[in-house]
Symmetry: C2
Subunit: 253 residues, 2 copies
């Protein structure tokens, strides 16, 4: 059994609270919120506090605040040499104050407010300054997720960049698909099953194996027809660059 | 009850055969294959033929062959004024020979061999030369799918381009994510739940609503850190262009 306290009242904090509440291996003790009345759902057994000085002893303190507040919050903790982790994918281990033992407890997922998340499927990327602390964060992560990975700061940095490609940029391509549909009075609904299946495919196949389409086939007739069809210069530009990138990649394989 | 015959023995033909076989509203009569021994699974009641002259009367003939074979196959049909459709997203209605009544029966999905497909969720994009024929193709599509759309040739063209963005290009972004992971010894597994959730999100939210990330927030510190982190010029280039495109889009909203 691990005693955990959470510092923060945002999206990630709420999702962690909900998940820990369901676990038998975690005793959630306190939740700190700067706001007097945060919109948080708490189990009965958990004490809500609004002053960091009220934090009692715990095995693990999880700081789930925005990236630029990590340094400040961790500097204000009224104790020393305890295990304190942050939940950020982009902040370094060093963002935490030196007075405590540091670690990272990063759930790699895009959290939407009020949308239920299956935590067991969320990858947790863990790192600790001291090797001996790793088992504690590992135990906490395994209590709520089936996918726990030891990821150092450099690796986490690479994951954060990779996540921009597979999440932010991918979503933007969905947006372009949506814009093309709107322009021609086609319901975006028509594309949704394809979007789902495209994501499903790489659960089993590598992206290189799953790649299809005119660029992959070097079907220049179709590529030229598509470019002639597009009226938006930005869309044309993205089409050209991604087609070229797919073709260059095919040559490398 | 509609009598249907299928001309072709590829991926799409097989998926249609399997789906029609399960429907009570469709009587699948014949399947034509050029090859003597195609790797097709047929219900008992269906007759396999290898000569187009052996085609008997049907309400609907579905040509499920590669795009560039549609014209030739449809020209070889030994009858006139019957309803003949193709299954291609990129071929025009005119690809079919003039001697028969034309139509399009296009399932918008990426088909993977040997991977079971839930046809009920696949959008069918339908078009017929004569309005009176529409009810026939509609009945055939509704027998196997819950998502049936009337889509004219121009709209279908736009869908085909949009599909390149949300399928081919998106998969390529998955590939870049995979490459970044490989470079830093991070298992691609870590990104898979994010890929799935990104696709899931736009089932309910519009892509504009679902957009997150440094480009959307105009978080130039993170954007610059990511660009400095990437070593591959092509990845840098794609990062820059898609970031710019997201930011331009935010301004338009």
């Amino acid at each position: 059994m691990i005693n955990v306290s959470i510092i923060g009242s945002g999206n990630v904090a709420q999702h962690l609270i909900t998940a820990f509440a369901k676990s038998k291996n975690i005793q959630l003790i306190q939740v700190y919120s700067r706001k007097e009345q945060p919109a948080l759902l708490l189990p009965d057994s958990v004490v809500m506090i609004h002053d960091l000085n009220d934090l009692s002893e715990a095995d693990l303190y999880i700081i789930a605040v925005s990236d630029n507040a990590i340094a400040e919050v961790s500097a204000q903790l009224p104790f020393k040499n305890r295990l304190v982790v942050h939940t950020s994918g982009s902040a370094a281990l060093d963002a935490l104050n030196d007075s405590n033992r540091k670690g990272v407890f990063y759930p790699l997922q895009t959290f939407t407010k009020n949308k239920e998340v299956d935590f067991t499927a969320i990858p947790f990327c863990l790192e600790t300054q001291n090797e001996t602390d790793y088992t504690i964060v590992e135990q906490a992560a395994k209590a709520i997720s089936d996918k726990v990975f030891s990821i150092n700061s450099l690796q986490r940095k690479s994951l954060h960049v990779a996540a921009v490609f597979v999440n932010n940029f991918t979503n933007h391509l969905y947006g372009i698909g949506n814009a093309i549909c709107n322009e021609h009075n086609v319901p975006f609904e028509v594309l949704k099953p394809l979007i789902k299946e495209t994501a499903e495919k790489v659960m089993q196949l590598s992206p290189n194996e799953a790649q299809t389409g005119p660029a992959k086939r070097n079907d220049t007739t179709t590529i030229e027809a598509h470019l002639a069809f597009l009226s938006d210069e930005n869309q044309k530009n993205i089409y050209t660059i991604l087609t070229q990138s797919i073709q260059d990649n095919v040559k490398k394989l």
